[in-house]
Amino acid sequence: MRHFKDNLLYGLLWLSAFLSVAVLVMIVGFIFYKGFGLISFDFIFGDYSPTGGGGIWPMIITTIYTIGISLIIATPIGILAAVYLQEYAKQGRLVKVIRFATESLTGIPSIIYGLFGAVFFVTTLRLGMSIIAASLTLTIIVLPVIIRTTEEALKTVPAAYREGSLALGNTKLQTLYKVILPSAMPGILSGIILSIGRIVGESAAIFLTAGTVAAMPESIFSSARTLTVHSYLVTQEAGDIELAAAIGIVLIVLILAINLSATFISKKLNKATNK
């Protein structure tokens, strides 16, 4: 009987993993199958042309801008907020309120973020439709993801590390950056990787705040079009699934590159502290 239960659970574990991988393979396969024919040097590095046959270089640059700016703002704020919740706050009402707010933010549809961003950042703060307005909106979107994953990562840091450091006359702050954050790094990093995914995958919140201008952005105050918005527009209006899939391929490669370098950096960091 026990063996049966064990085997059943084993089977379910394998089955689930198999399903997840199968879905992964199917989606990636679908995207490559549909889009690979369009991939070419000109497609990736060429300028966009509204008359067809153009490239997506301006969108790639815009996408990288939005990832960069959003993360530069959201990562420190998110990590520090998580630090406050885990390391500083007394577990009371305030923490509950903050945690509740954070969690509620994760469930808000991006279209609402977009409308909010369009009113708050674009109009009220007079940033206009721009990369910066979109990045600020995205910051709000990914903040809860970073806060929650960082909190979890901090929880796993053994209390003994904190005690050890404090007993050596270090302040909480010193303890934080010398011991706690380094050992929470892998968890924090996976939160950042998820955030990158969220930023890259976003469309509604971006086109309402950055617009859809298909030209190379002059600055972060320019209106511009990200890869995902581009794929959204071509799906929505032109029904051009091949083009959308080709953009998907570029995104996959882009994210892969970012993730690999993030993992590489964290390995480097760990080497410095661990081995």
Binding site: S49, M129, T212, S223, Q236, E237, G239
Partner: protein
Amino acid sequence: ACTSDDKNSSQASTSKDETIAISGSTSVGPLAEKLAHKYAEQNNTNIEINQIGSSAGITNAISGVSEIGMSSRDLKEEERANKLNEVVIAYDGIVVVTHPSNKVKDLTLEQVKQIFTGKVTNWKEFGGDDMEIVVVSREDGSGSRDAFQEIVDYSSGQLIKNAIIASGNGNIKTTVANNKHAVGFISFEYIDDSISTIDINGVEATADNVLEQKYKLSRPFLFVFKEGQLSEAGQRFIDFILSQDGQSIAAEAGAIPIK
């Protein structure tokens, strides 16, 4: 960096003198982009086009975020109250489309109405195979849908309840192309061989037929701007669109010129 040089047009966007901000309808957007592209080749003007939906465009035109709004629907009362001017820059033909395998190729306006209001639910009634009809419509508020309903003569309340609602021409096209039961409507510019088009009252859906008023399903593409807010550059761009050159570009892009 102020003197414009046509040969440099690839980096032109960084050295243009004036900027015209335009935002609005996703169906007008592609046409406007093409017009702007051509216009920018000859003029020292940077034109930013944001395709974010008619309403958002009109709102932007009112709030001043954009100089010009693009709309594929008529203005609402509340919007008109803000002293908005409108210019028809072209017309857009609307075509009823089905799965390529569908044998039905010709319908009357009345039959179209029967389909979309759910009076007839099987293709065999119109000489097709014995299979259920799946209606695909656009979302409430869409310019194409407004125009389509007005001309076919039914109201949103009459639309068959279980109709699939797709956002955008592309989504209708993909939905119809993947379902042999389906029928929907899209702009002329998006016609390709993944779907088959239906003649209305025996008249084929072509720009010429629209211009000759034989084909009824069409609606205007609008530029709107706040009275007195249009810059000189904006005015010049609109003039260009309405000129012979502009209108032939529009025709090339699949839209119907305003004569």
